[in-house]
Each structure stands twice: as structure tokens, then as C-alpha cells.
């Protein structure tokens, strides 16, 4: 197991290095510099600014400096936000984004798992149809549509909750729900399929043949086996939340990294774009790694054979 984790860590570093390199190269191909809008600058002023950002160095030197900076945790300095280091800008956005993301993931998975289990146990009943409809709608309709509907009816029309911004718990409710719908629907769908399959397994018949009660069979023999594979979709789900936050933060004006990212895209703020990209990549890869390890710990079949 330790060897397996080590191997995966090395992989992670290689992937990160590649991502850093690719995003650096792509950035250099980008049309325009942060100064293209500032026409009023004199050539001398322009030169001074380019020099101070290191944009006059030959590209390999810029690349080297960039990599060295990365290893030291330095993501460069923003072009846009008052020359502040990218790490501090990111640091400012992460709390809101993380809070939103974690709340949504918890809400989505807990409700989704419950819904999926219910509809599997009462297969073909009313609960099943209702949750199937919710699952199809939730996985199909984009989160920003839900966000729009809720924002218009609940916040604008009824005034029950704030329309936008981030000033306390009630501000987090609508964005959290909007973001949670997709994981909720995905979990419900996944758990339902898994659970139905598990309930059709021979070992469930064995358990029933032992004379165990229906609830014991479902809880002790069913749920456990149905939930283990759920871990595999949690990774992709968490990643889809990253995508979701970009849009949801826009709609509800949440001061998170998503919103920063979008505004840095509009203003060609390379360091912030690259920093956020790398940050997303680290989160993404770390998530997959953690889930792999978790899977190994929870599923006895994998645990014993030692990973792969």
C-alpha cells in the first residue's frame, strides 16, 4: 500500500509539472499583454513595467524563474490587483469557494444517497419514480438555470433570501442549493443503480435465507456494498463542483476563486490565471489520490491485495 501511494505521488508531481509547463506555454501564445489596454503609457514607462514583471527576459529564463517560484510556493504577482502576489489573492478567494463547495458536496451527497437508497428499496414505487424524475432533471438541467430560477423567484420575487453577495449563512443558502443539485442527482442515480444491483445479488438471497429481517438485510448487507463504489464518483463530482463554482459565484457575486478567475480571464491577468489553473489542478489530482487511497482502505477486496 505504501509503495502504491508513493508511486501515485510521483505521478502526481509529473502531471503537475506538465500542467505548469503547458499552461506557461499557452500563456505565452496568448494574444495581448496586460498592457495592451493601457495605450497612454509612453514607451519608456511601458519598458519599465515590462521589466519589472520580467516580461523582457528570454522565454526560457521566464520559464525557469516561473518553475523556481512555483517550488517556493510563489505564483507570481498579479497584473491587475494592485501588484499583489497571486497566492494572497487566491488565499482571499479560497475560504468562500471552499465553504460553498463543501456545503454543496455534503448537502448533495447526503440527500442524494438517501434518495437513491429509498428509490432502490421501494423499487418501482412512487418514491422511485419521483427520485428518478429528480435525478434526470438534476443531471440534465445546467446549474446556472436552477440558480436563475431560484434567484428570480425566491430572492427577487419573494424576497425570502438575499439575491447576491456573501455576508453570512443566509447568503450561502441559494448558491449552495444551486451547486448541490448536480451532485445530489448524480448520487441518487448512482446509488439507486448500485443498490438495485446489490439487492439482486446472491448474497442478499443468502442473507434472507438465514432468516434475517428485511431491515437487517438492507442495512447490514445492502447499503455497505452499494456505497463503496460511490467513492469513485465523488472525485469527478468534486471536480464538477469546481466548474459549477465558476458560474454560481458569478451569478450570486460570491467573492471566491471562481469569480477571480473569470475576471482575470477578461483582463488577461496571466499570473492569476496560471495560479488558479495550477490550484485547480492540485485540488483535482489530490482529490483523485485521496479517493483512490480511501477506496483501498474501505473495500476489503482491494485492501488485502495491496492496491492495484
Amino acid at each position: 500500500m505504501a509503495r502504491y501511494i508513493g508511486q501515485r505521488l510521483i505521478y502526481m508531481v509529473i502531471t503537475l509539472f506538465l500542467i505548469a509547463t503547458i499552461s506557461f506555454i499557452l500563456m505565452k501564445f496568448l494574444p495581448g499583454t496586460p498592457l495592451s489596454a493601457a495605450d497612454k503609457l509612453s514607451p519608456e514607462q511601458r519598458e519599465i513595467i515590462l521589466e519589472s514583471y520580467g516580461l523582457n527576459d528570454p522565454i526560457p529564463v521566464q520559464y525557469g524563474k516561473y518553475l523556481v517560484g512555483l517550488v517556493q510556493g510563489d505564483l507570481g504577482i498579479s497584473f491587475q490587483f494592485d501588484n499583489r502576489p497571486v497566492t494572497s489573492i487566491l488565499g482571499e478567494g479560497i475560504p468562500a469557494s471552499a465553504k460553498l463547495g463543501i456545503q454543496a458536496l455534503l448537502l448533495g451527497t447526503i440527500l442524494g444517497v438517501a434518495l437513491g437508497l429509498l428509490s432502490a428499496v421501494y423499487h418501482n414505487g412512487f418514491t422511485d419514480y419521483a427520485s428518478t424524475v429528480i435525478a434526470v432533471l438534476g443531471t440534465s438541467i445546467p446549474s446556472f438555470i436552477f440558480a436563475g430560477i431560484m434567484q428570480y423567484f425566491i430572492a427577487v420575487k419573494l424576497g425570502w433570501l438575499p439575491v447576491a453577495f456573501w455576508n453570512g449563512f443566509e447568503y450561502t443558502i441559494l448558491p449552495t442549493i444551486a451547486l448541490a443539485i448536480f451532485p445530489l442527482a448524480t448520487c441518487a442515480r448512482f446509488v439507486r443503480t448500485e443498490m438495485i444491483e446489490v439487492l439482486n445479488q446472491d448474497y442478499i438471497t443468502t442473507a434472507r435465507a438465514k432468516g434475517l429481517s428485511g431491515t437487517t438485510v438492507v442495512f447490514k448487507h445492502g447499503i455497505r456494498n452499494a456505497l463503496i463504489p460511490l467513492i469513485t464518483v465523488l472525485g469527478p463530482l468534486a471536480v464538477s463542483l469546481l466548474t459549477g463554482t465558476l458560474v454560481i459565484e458569478q451569478i450570486f457575486s460570491v467573492p471566491g476563486i471562481g469569480q477571480q478567475f473569470v475576471s482575470s480571464v477578461v483582463t488577461n491577468d496571466f499570473p492569476v490565471i496560471m495560479g488558479t489553473t495550477l490550484f485547480f489542478a492540485v485540488v483535482f489530482i489530490a482529490m483523485i489520490l485521496i479517493i483512490d487511497i480511501l477506496y483501498g482502505i474501505i473495500d476489503p477486496r482491494i485492501r488485502i491485495s495491496g492496491g492495484k
Binding site: T206, A207, G211, G214, P300
Partner: protein
């Protein structure tokens, strides 16, 4: 002899998208104390469904008992509520399943799975249950039971898993043990071990066994009586000797004839042509008629009743009617029977 279990006119159906499948269409049999009854038939003949119905384990809501009764210990259990059935399942009637690779829960320790029934039915505490489980694992000859208790099913071989399944079934000293093709999924060498184990255990705990199989060789080895099933009905029933040495139903002839033996090298196998009928719309008359090379006109008109051959031997074929032409089993089947006779004697002496 005491009749422990009696099945009367049992009909089991499944609702499917294409219609109602009549998997079992009027089955009668009984099981005496301490005996082993083998139910034989090809896949889809309804033998597994019959035993699932006995246990109340038909897949809900598609599968259901349409009519008939299952009398166990003088009570009809076919109409019992699931809650009451739970007290019988595993305690009075236990079951061994076909595929040991899938019939154990992969995420629970083997010990836990054996102990479950003990805790539920015998009201044992964990410690007592553990001791009893170790005892059971010794009984089914699993070496080193203390350590094996803490392992997961995937750490067991197929044969060892089947021993675990048997240990689970035996946990509460059931009066009836239903074994649904318990050796089919195993290697031939392991098959023999498991059969010996079952015979051995039956002697020790004196339980009655219903043994489902499509393998006539296994039947001869283990059973006292045989019931041959075809298309949801029992077509011939009798003691092992009667059915093996004096078969009356052409389907039984077919089964015997299609069984390869060591002596069969020069003979062709007597295969049964065609496939079993569609049980959504069972054919009129004898369901076997279309595949029967000795079919009579009446087979396509009227279903044959059970004709009595001896007090214990019955067969449902018009060939036994007084008006029917006298038809002998095909020569190859006869020779097969004779050779079995010899080999039996050879092994006995």
C-alpha cells in the same frame, strides 16, 4: 415414515414484460424425516424456483405462488407473512446455494456471516456465537477456523467458500436442508469432497435434504428418492433404484441416455432434441410431446396424469396407459442402465 414437508399442487408464476411465465405448474412431492430427495431436471425446468418458493425467497414482486400449499410441520407456510417466515428460514429450513463465489457477502467477515443466523435464531451472545461458529467450521472441515473467521470471502477458494455456506446453513440445526446445485460451480475433485461432506453431515445431524441437480451421477451418489422435473412439472418420481433401473418416462430415458459414462466410448449419446417449451404459453397436452420421439397422438391433446408403477414409483406419460402400445426404452439407454448396474455392483464388491 413421518412426512416433514409436503408440497401440494404448487403453481409459481413470474410477471415479466412479455407476460406471465408459469415456471412451476402443479408440483406435488413430499419429504420424509432424514431422507434425501433429489429433484432433477434441465435448466429452466422449475426446480430452483420450487425451492425458492419453499423458502419464501421468490423475487418480489414479480415472482409469486399462484396456488397450492406447502405444508411444513402441519402448517401451510405458503401463505405465511414474511415476518413469520423469517422465524422458519435459516432455523427450520436452510439453504445452500449454487455459486459459492457470489453467495457470500464480499464485505463482511466470514465469521460474522456464520454468526448472524445464530444470533438471530438462537438468541446467542457474540461470544457463544463465535464458539459455535468455530465448531461449525470444524464440522465442515475448514482448517484453522479461529484465523479463518476473521477473513473475507475472497480469501477463500471456491470449495472452502462452499463449506462456509454449508456451515451457515447448518448453524441452527435445520430440519430441512435445501441444496440448490451445490456442486455445479465447483471443480470435479472438489465436487466429490463436498458431496462426501454433505453425506457425512447428514449422518451426524440427521437432517432431511432436498437436493437440486441436473447431474444424475450426483443423484445416484446421494439421494434416496428422485423426482424428475420438466417444464414446471414432476414427470416421474420414485426411489433411486426405480428411476434409474426402471425408468418409465421418455424424458427420464433421455436424461439417462445423455449422461456420459466411463463405458460410453463406443456408444452415441442419446440426446434429447430441441429446447424446453415457452412457459409463457405452455403447449396443450404433454409439454414434452414436441421433443418426445415416442410421442402418441394423445400427447398433443391431453395432459397425461400420474400413472402408478409401484407404491413409490409414478410417472406422467401416456405410454403407461393400458391402451398405449408397449414401447421399450431405446436400446442405448437400456445398455446404459445395464452397464450402470454392473459398475454399481463392481464398486460395491
Amino acid at each position: 415414515m413421518d412426512r416433514l414437508l409436503e408440497v401440494n399442487d404448487l403453481h409459481v408464476s413470474f410477471n415479466t414484460y412479455s407476460g406471465e411465465v408459469q415456471a412451476v405448474r402443479g408440483v406435488n412431492f413430499h419429504l420424509n424425516k432424514g431422507e434425501t430427495l433429489a429433484i432433477v431436471g434441465e435448466s429452466g425446468s422449475g426446480k430452483s424456483v420450487t425451492t425458492k418458493a419453499l423458502m419464501g425467497l421468490l423475487p418480489k414482486p414479480h415472482g409469486f405462488i399462484k396456488q397450492g400449499s406447502i405444508t411444513f410441520d402441519n402448517t401451510d407456510i405458503s401463505k405465511m407473512k414474511d415476518k413469520d417466515l423469517q422465524k422458519i428460514r435459516g432455523k427450520e429450513i436452510a439453504m445452500i446455494f449454487q455459486d459459492p463465489m457470489t453467495s457470500l457477502n464480499p464485505t463482511l467477515k466470514v465469521g460474522t456471516q456464520i454468526m448472524e443466523g445464530l444470533i438471530k435464531h438462537q438468541g446467542m451472545g457474540k461470544a457463544d456465537a463465535r464458539n459455535k461458529a468455530i465448531e461449525l467450521m470444524n464440522l465442515v472441515q475448514i482448517p484453522n477456523p479461529e484465523a479463518r473467521m476473521k477473513q473475507y470471502p475472497h480469501q477463500f477458494s471456491g470449495g472452502m467458500r462452499q463449506r462456509v455456506v454449508i456451515a451457515m446453513a447448518l448453524a441452527c440445526n435445520p430440519r430441512v436442508l435445501i441444496a440448490d446445485e451445490p456442486t455445479t460451480a465447483l471443480d470435479v475433485t472438489i465436487q466429490a469432497q463436498i458431496l462426501d461432506l454433505m453425506k457425512d453431515i447428514q449422518k451426524k445431524v440427521n437432517t432431511s435434504i432436498i437436493f437440486i441437480t441436473h447431474d444424475l451421477g450426483v443423484v445416484a451418489n446421494i439421494a434416496d428418492r428422485v423426482a424428475v422435473m420438466y417444464a414446471g412439472k414432476i414427470v416421474e418420481t420414485g426411489t433411486v433404484d426405480e428411476v434409474f433401473y426402471n425408468p418409465k418416462h421418455p424424458y427420464t430415458w433421455g436424461l439417462l441416455g445423455s449422461m456420459p459414462t466411463l463405458e460410453s466410448d463406443e456408444e452415441e449419446l442419446f440426446a434429447i432434441p430441441g429446447t424446453p417449451p415457452d412457459l409463457i404459453a405452455p403447449p396443450k397436452g404433454d409439454a414434452f410431446a414436441a421433443r418426445n420421439r415416442f410421442a402418441l397422438e394423445i400427447d398433443f391433446v391431453e395432459e397425461p396424469p400420474m400413472f402408478k408403477v409401484s407404491d413409490t414409483h409414478y410417472a406422467a406419460t401416456w405410454l403407461l396407459h393400458e391402451d398405449a402400445p408397449k414401447i421399450e426404452p431405446p436400446a442405448s439407454v437400456k445398455r446404459r442402465i445395464e452397464s450402470m448396474d454392473h459398475s454399481e455392483e463392481a464398486t460395491r464388491s
